[in-house]
């Protein structure tokens, strides 16, 4: 390596796709601040690290926390996927994907397997995540105890003391009223045996996917100004009782489009006469399966069975 020659001007101007913006919108000082919060969040799994969330060019509730986390980790070589309730084609997902295409000029995809960074609102993709992928959650209310104890000073103390009796009382009251734990989304989890964490309003169907996941999971709450994380291969346990063990919801039918079972389904109202269908909430999973089915049908029609003669 040659020593730098001070006579040579080395200033390289970073030009991003969106002229006038820094790469991925945020300024470098903000990115550093968010990055430091992410590093501490990884070192203390499940602990909510306060950070100085910025105003973003989108309203709170549209994923300002997730967007800031994504902007801080994103590099020019990353491939971004954004999902909203599992779908790649809804308003929130489309607008965030376009935001990063415009400000960072990065590649985007709808394929889970091809993405290096996946920003999600309220679902975890059905396809298993891999090492090297980062899942960024948009979180509205990061504090799992907030609806039980409104004071931040108190909830912070409860986390410091690992005093989570309140949460168990809440789940117990579910059982007393309904005969079972009636919490179906934002179902509280215990991370690495220490902090109780809100997995964001994902259906509890997705909770088992957080456990021992090969991908890094980052959570950003913009309005509440908190970042937290689950490192890869971390024990994530959904809170429950010995006599009322944690169970995910099951559907009594497969996806009406691709026939997938053991996936999370959305109910789609078809008409005013009570017609409805249940389809995969994960649009990429559904399309991938439909594509495979079509491919197989084409091969059969062409006489190719995939077997060597």
């Amino acid at each position: 390596m040659n020593p730098p020659n001070p006579a040579v001007a080395r200033a390289t101007v970073t030009v991003s796709a969106g002229a006038g913006y820094n790469f991925a919108y945020l300024d470098e000082g903000t990115k550093r601040m968010i990055r430091r919060a992410i590093l501490k969040a990884i070192a203390i799994p499940g602990y909510q690290v306060p950070f100085a969330a910025r105003e973003m060019p989108m309203p709170y509730g549209w994923g300002t926390g997730g967007v800031q986390v994504t902007a801080a980790i994103l590099g020019a070589a990353d491939v971004l996927k954004v999902i909203d309730q599992g779908a790649d084609d809804t308003t929130n997902a489309v607008s965030i994907r376009r935001f990063f295409t415009a400000t960072a000029g990065i590649a985007t995809t709808t394929r889970t397997a091809e993405a290096t960074v996946i920003q999600t609102r309220h679902r975890i993709p059905e396809a298993p995540l891999a090492e090297g992928q980062v899942l960024v959650y948009q979180v509205p209310i990061p504090e799992p105890l907030r609806f039980l104890e409104p004071r931040e000073t108190e909830t912070r103390q409860l986390h410091a003391l690992a005093e989570y009796g309140l949460m168990h009382v809440k789940l117990y009251e579910d059982i007393a009223r309904h005969g079972h734990i009636a919490t179906t989304y934002a179902y509280p989890v215990e991370v690495a045996g220490r902090y109780v964490m809100d997995p964001s309003p994902t259906p509890k169907f997705d909770n088992p996917k957080m456990d021992d996941c090969p991908a890094l999971q980052l959570f950003g709450a913009g309005r509440e100004k908190r970042i937290y994380a689950i490192p890869p291969y971390t024990r994530v346990r959904s809170l429950d009782f010995e006599d009322h063990p944690f169970r995910v919801q099951r559907f009594d039918r497969p996806c009406a489009l691709c026939g997938a079972e053991d996936v999370y389904l959305d109910e789609v109202v078809l008409d005013d006469a009570g017609g409805r269908m249940f389809v995969c909430s994960d649009t990429d999973h559904c399309e991938t399966r439909l594509g495979e089915t079509r491919l197989a049908e084409t091969r059969l029609a062409d006489g190719h069975t995939g077997e060597a003669a």
């Binding site: 730098p4 001070p6 550093r32 590093l39 690495a192």
Partner: protein, 228 residues
Amino acid sequence: MAPTLAHGFADPVHAGQAVFRAAMEALSRPGRIRPLVTALVPPAPLTPELAALALALTDADTPVWLDAPLRADPAVAGFLRFHTGAPLVANPGGAAFALIADPARCPPFTDFAPGTPAYPDASATLILAVDTLSDADGRDFAEQACARQVFAGPGIRGTAPFAAGPLPADWTARWAANHAGFPLGIDCLFVAPGRLAGLPRSARPVDAETVPGSDGSAGSEALPCTSR
């Protein structure tokens, strides 16, 4: 002739992002070594990797503590002050980041901020420039004093053997005490030429005897701390 100031990142945006992603991967997969490539040529004894992490992570909001060899040459402080704007503090307890060029004489962990029970994130990150690093692949050992341990915990599938050197003789005891204080504690990033590894406070040292080759290489015998 007046000494000239060494360059910072040629492309601060993307170089900073690449160094951060390496640090993020290192801390989220403790004990696994990954490449850290930088073109920086900072004033010695500040290594290029130490400088890269300092430029990527520190700024006016983060007090930085330098160990004795780094303090000895004012060019190091000048380089860091100019490129990061970080206040350099004399008291390690007040530092968010500590840059350590002589890891064998790393001060006791108790000298650094461990955070508070309410805010465990208000804790120090130590960046140590070591000579040798070794992970599950067991490469690159010198005859230096290596602190060799097997870790488990968040970010680790099964167990992960990890060694770095030179480190103080009581390093394993220090780390055990650091982990025992979880969620309080300090986090470490280790840099060697071209390489980086991390140990967050969540990394739990496991007795190598109790995990006899759980993944075929976890036993301490698989990691000879000798020259090849």
